[in-house]
């Protein structure tokens, strides 16, 4: 006898545990992710500024109360988190050690947002991770600064890829000045968006005049988009199974 729960039940149950299906985003990111940062979604951040793009993406959600787990990312400096206005007391760093399957599933149980590096896991494990992400309704950000997607690694799970390009550093010259600020263009490519959306932003944001935060109060629209996203996701899984 099998468990009599259809995936639609699973989805609605998972989304009900969380009050909203989308996490808040800063204004610059809202331009390129019009449906918000959806729960159950995997976002791959690529390019030389991948780490900053990822931190900017999650900062608003963490500062309003979600918890962030950073898995196997000891090299990320907490100082950068502070510059992105991420409150440190809601951040936990985890090393998976030699038991990635159990550690990751415990992480997915407890945190709303998880940042993981692009790692290649075994086929069965990668599938299990993907299922967990879907069922738990958490947002996973994969950092991939190598800029090439290899089949089977965590970055290939991405529903949306954010790539930072056209990076301009201000304040530094040829032997003069110092790094002051970085402006770049972040483009979002998803399986559903035919043309990439682009947005100019400064990462990390200015300390004095922080990014204006943006939150969509009309949850109806977001819910609808969440359904569309979930459906396309399901389709993708079916395709992968074939």
């Amino acid at each position: 006898m099998s468990i009599a729960l259809e995936s639609s039940h699973l989805r609605s149950a998972a989304s009900l545990t969380k009050t909203d299906s989308a996490l808040p985003l800063s204004e610059a990111y809202a331009e390129i992710l019009p449906s918000g940062l959806l729960r159950g979604q995997v976002v791959a951040c690529q390019g030389p500024a991948a780490y900053s793009v990822a931190l900017g993406l999650v900062s608003r959600a963490i500062s309003v109360g979600s918890w962030l787990a950073m898995v196997d990312l000891e090299q990320v400096s907490p100082e950068a988190l502070v510059e992105f206005d991420i409150p440190l007391h809601r951040v936990v760093g985890v090393s998976t050690g030699d038991d990635p399957a159990n550690v990751l599933s415990a992480v997915f149980d407890g945190f709303d947002v998880v940042i993981i590096p692009a790692v290649r896991y075994r086929g069965a494990l990668a599938r299990r991770i993907a299922q967990r992400i879907r069922a738990k309704g958490i947002t996973v950000v994969v950092i991939d600064d190598t800029n090439e997607i290899r089949a089977g690694d965590t970055a290939s799970l991405g529903d949306i890829a954010l790539v930072g390009s056209d990076i301009r550093w201000e304040g530094i010259g040829w032997g003069t000045g110092r790094l002051l600020s970085r402006h770049l263009t972040v483009s979002a490519t998803g399986r559903r968006s035919p043309r990439p959306l682009r947005s100019e932003m400064q990462l990390p944001p200015d300390s004095g005049t922080d990014l204006k935060w943006f939150q969509d109060d009309e949850t109806d629209g977001v819910d609808e988009l969440a359904d569309v996203a979930a459906e396309s996701e399901e389709l993708r899984w079916r395709l992968r199974a074939v």
Binding site: M1, I3, A4, L5, L10, S12, A13, L16, T17, P48, A49, A50, Y51, S52, L55, G65, W67, A69, E74, Q75, V76, S77, P78, E79, A80, L81, V82, E83, P87, L88, H89, R90, V91, V92, G93, V94, S95, G97, D99, V103, A106, V107, G110, F111, D112, D145, D166, I167, R168, I172, G173, W174, G175, G177, R178, L179, L180, R182, L184, P204
Partner: protein, 526 residues
């Protein structure tokens, strides 16, 4: 004293049974002392550990310092409920409506049973004998009878210490508890620890002190939470009986088309039912304080339990209780022989929502609790070194300024995010990536020779390319060098280095350092 003497007929007599240190009894007996932890704090300890000086609320380290040979186990609610199930069912055999408060504690209305058994003493005696028969010697129990749930919960705790049933005569609540610390009200969940501490600072330390005030003053100064505590203290507790007729109280049910054989999917649907119920009540401005959870299998096996929580049930609290109950049920030998076909959650008592919300501004939110539980679980999975939290430490170099520190040594209730200014450090923006081990690199000039920094802090030539990890990239902008001499007085830890910022052709920016004529990567603005 405000209420002593006046017997309020609306306050029912309640018996509460409380097993002290229940979390310890749910753990299979092991050699040596035993400590149960929840979120890094001691929640229960066996008698040996208590003797050694372990106290509830101690941090793991403090507990292990006084009792180093203790076995430390994480709290497991499901196991506690499961272990308590035999107590509940034995009491339920003689008393019809038993309400579970938490694992290790239950209560029921005394009116009917007292009449049936002929007096409160006789009910207490019956309950004590069935429970003792179930648990055997060596496990102490507390039984308290008083006006209202809160007072009887206090009486039970007091009885758990004195090991004799405590029966408080009707209307004598305040007089009976006059010398007890207000922390007891916190222990039974009627008062937040902040309020206890605030009253403590104001010199109001015992139940008697609080009861001696006037209700109006308490309301004016401490608001609704204060009045709630005041009513418990004076024995006029028990929220005004709900005006909602029982038939109007919501009930939710999920029938499964195909019998479900595992707990997880049932809990999943419980989540759905719970949010719907909580939402429905919230529209009316109510919270559920008592509910009945029932599940039935294809073969008509049933589990039905009543749950009570004075703070009111959140959706998560409902789901937790459904999980505990189902776990206990299916693990009971020969209780379940088929899949679950129906799950029902009925609200049986409500009260007006007096604004005890879970963390909107500050306080612990649901997300905080979930994350804290996950952290505790992760520590058991990957060890204390595998779970780290970011902390400001202080220094001039990126690797010194902030660090990832093992969660076992950090007091996570105390947050410090910002760092005081450190003159001599490279200012914002900080490199996002700081290598955890030394990464040697090469900085070359236009002739392909290594660039150096002179003793006077000047570049020997202009850097043109940088080789990191065998990959050479052109420099498009650079700044520095910024020399730094640290701890010149310390033979072993002294450092003398110069830092350089470079932007490479792909737009990546790095902080480099030269130390004893060798370059290494200090950070990357990834």
């Amino acid at each position: 004293m405000a209420a002593s003497g006046s017997v309020s007929s609306s306050v029912p007599r309640v018996l509460t049974l409380w097993c002290p240190e229940w979390p310890v009894h749910a753990v299979p007996r092991a050699e040596g002392p035993l400590i149960v932890l929840d979120q890094h704090r001691v929640v229960a300890a066996c008698a040996d550990a208590r003797e050694a000086g372990v106290r509830t609320g101690d941090r793991r380290r403090a507990a292990l310092r006084v009792c180093p040979n203790a076995t430390v186990v994480p709290r497991d609610y499901s196991a506690e409920v499961q272990a308590f199930e035999r107590v509940v069912s034995s009491v339920a055999e003689i008393i019809p409506l038993v309400e579970l408060l938490e694992p290790g504690s239950l209560c029921f209305d005394m009116r009917g049973p007292a009449r049936y058994f002929g007096g409160e003493d006789s009910v207490v005696e019956h309950v004590r004998s069935v429970v003792e028969r179930q648990l055997g010697a060596g496990i102490s129990i507390g039984i308290g009878v008083a006006d209202g749930r809160a007072a009887s919960a206090i009486a039970a705790r007091r009885s758990g210490v004195s090991l004799r049933p405590v029966i408080v005569e009707p209307g004598r609540t305040a007089a009976a508890f006059i010398t007890m610390s207000l922390r007891w009200l916190h222990a039974i969940g009627e008062m937040s620890i902040e309020l206890v501490e605030l009253l403590d600072r104001l010199g109001i330390r015992t139940v008697g002190d609080l009861a001696a005030l006037s209700e109006r003053d308490v309301l004016a100064r401490f608001g609704l939470p204060g009045v709630r505590a005041y009513r418990v203290a004076t024995g006029t507790d028990e929220r005004p009986l709900s005006s909602v007729a029982p038939s109007q109280l919501p009930e939710r049910e999920r029938r499964f088309d195909e019998p479900v054989l595992s707990v997880t999917p049932v809990v999943f649907s419980a989540r759905e039912l719970a949010s719907a119920l909580v939402h429905e009540l919230a529209i009316e401005g109510l919270v559920c304080t008592r509910m009945t959870v029932a599940a039935e299998t294809e073969h008509s096996e049933r589990t039905e339990r009543h749950w009570y929580r004075s703070e009111g049930f959140t959706a998560a609290a409902i789901v937790d209780r459904v999980r505990w109950q189902l776990d206990a049920w299916i693990n009971e030998p020969s209780a379940v022989s088929a899949g679950v076909i129906v799950l029902r959650i009925s609200v049986t008592a409500v009260r007006p929502d007096d604004g005890v919300q879970e963390g909107f501004w500050g306080g612990a939110s649901e997300a905080d609790g979930r994350a804290n539980r996950a952290v505790a679980r992760l520590v058991t999975l990957c060890g204390p070194e595998g779970v780290r939290v970011p902390l400001p430490i202080g220094g001039r170099l990126p690797e010194d300024r902030y660090g990832w520190v093992s969660t076992a040594v950090v007091d996570r209730d105390h947050h410090v995010d910002a760092l005081a200014p450190w003159p001599g450090s490279v200012v914002r923006p900080a490199p996002a990536i700081v290598p955890t081990h030394e990464v040697p690199i090469e900085v070359l000039n236009d002739r392909g020779e290594s660039v150096g920094v002179s003793g006077r802090g000047e570049m020997t030539s202009e850097p043109v390319s940088v080789v990191i990890g065998g990959r050479s990239r052109r420099v498009v902008a650079w700044a520095g060098p910024w020399p730094l001499i640290e701890r010149w007085w310390d033979e072993r830890r002294r450092r003398r280095l110069a830092r350089l910022q470079v932007v490479l052709e792909d737009g990546s920016a790095h902080l480099l350092a030269v130390e004893q004529q060798r370059w290494h990567l200090m950070g990357t603005h990834g």
